[in-house]
């Protein structure tokens, strides 16, 4: 079974776009039967926006850089604080007070010098989001607040850009993949105005796990294989080691994806 929408696009890709170094560097991925050279080329051509370079954004950016995503745009308006260092793995003691996007991009370029990393130290707003999403193939929602998540959700829907949602608290996390027009959007599930606690409790292993699940979704979605977390939300409870899958559906009067009133 394959519910991956990218297969419908039947992209024409040239095998010439991988270098000899690429073939060696990504050989363990390329030998995966459903991925292959074509999958690697698709990753190389992809532009992924990582919204938030904190607990979820750090491991997502790391995983995607190692996997060979061609272009990463990092957006975060915060600087590194000491309390970030239990989980935000791209930021180290020496980076305190550094802009998070600068701290992160330095490490990512050392991990993989062949990828392009764009760093934007700005706050995502409903005014600038349209421009920020120009040319983006996929958004990784790694935010720590609901207001921005809803801004991302709405603009991704308007532009038809897939959106991979992740959220954490304590030893628990949740993840789902949103494909505009095909799956429920974030606002089908949660009403505007809700906001999580601040500061929220969290162990570093939780965002590392949830981010890795988000990255797996990204790799499958961009390269066109596998079964995505669409129409369902995965909850992970690290305290009991239970995984719970909840079926989710479009809301009939959703103000974003079904033409309802906000």
């Amino acid at each position: 079974m394959n519910n991956n929408p990218i297969n419908e696009k039947k992209r024409i890709v040239s095998p010439l776009s991988l270098t000899e170094v690429d073939y060696t560097r990504y050989s363990r991925q390329i030998i995966y039967p459903d991925f292959g050279e074509e999958g690697q080329i698709r990753l190389k051509k992809a532009h992924v926006l990582i919204a938030g370079v904190g607990g979820l954004g750090s491991p997502n950016a790391t995983n995607l850089a190692y996997a060979g995503i061609g272009k990463l745009t990092l957006i975060d308006c915060d600087s590194v604080e000491f309390s970030n260092l239990n989980r935000q793995t791209l930021h180290w003691e020496r980076d305190i007070n550094e802009e998070k996007v600068v701290s992160a991009s330095k490490k990512l370029k050392e991990m993989n010098s062949k990828i392009e990393v764009i760093s934007l130290n700005i706050r995502i707003t409903s005014e600038n989001i349209g421009e920020l999403l120009e040319g983006v193939d996929l958004v990784m929602d790694c935010m720590d607040n609901m207001e921005t998540r809803f801004i991302l959700n709405e603009c991704c829907f308007k532009k038809g850009i897939p959106f991979i949602f992740g959220g954490v608290r304590g030893l628990e996390g949740q993840v789902t993949t949103i494909i505009p027009g095909k799956t429920p959007c974030l606002e089908c599930l949660y009403p505007r105005g809700i906001e999580g606690e601040k500061p929220f409790p969290v162990f570093g292993a939780t965002p590392a796990l949830i981010a890795s699940l988000q990255t797996m979704e990204a790799i499958k979605l961009l390269s066109g294989f596998g079964e995505l977390l669409t129409g369902r939300m995965l909850f992970v409870n690290g305290e009991t080691m239970e995984f719970m899958m909840i079926k989710i559906e479009k809301k009939k009067n959703c103000p974003i994806c079904s033409g309802g009133n906000i």
Partner: protein, 88 residues
């Protein structure tokens, strides 16, 4: 009037709970659950009697908005009471 309910593990001492309850609204269903599991009340409700901000209710897989307690349910509906994990 039987509603299938899934309760997030956080609300029940870490154990996912699936049960069937009677009720015409989300609030009536939750009230029925509270009778069986009174310890959940502190986790689910604030002092004002409303559901806490991190508790979200899905009926048949979609959110039911901010007036969730008066949302109507019918026989055969499925309801999920979830904790929304919004940290990043």
């Amino acid at each position: 009037m039987s509603i299938k309910v899934t309760l997030h593990p956080f609300l029940n001492d870490g154990v996912e709970l699936q049960l069937e309850v009677d009720g015409k609204t989300v609030g009536e269903c939750i009230k029925s659950i509270m009778k069986q599991y009174p310890a959940m009340e502190k986790k689910m409700f604030g002092k004002n009697g409303a559901l806490k901000g991190y508790v979200e209710v899905l009926v048949n897989g979609h959110g039911v908005g901010t007036n969730e307690l008066v949302y109507s349910v019918k026989d055969g509906d499925s309801m999920a009471v979830l904790v929304f994990l919004s940290g990043g």
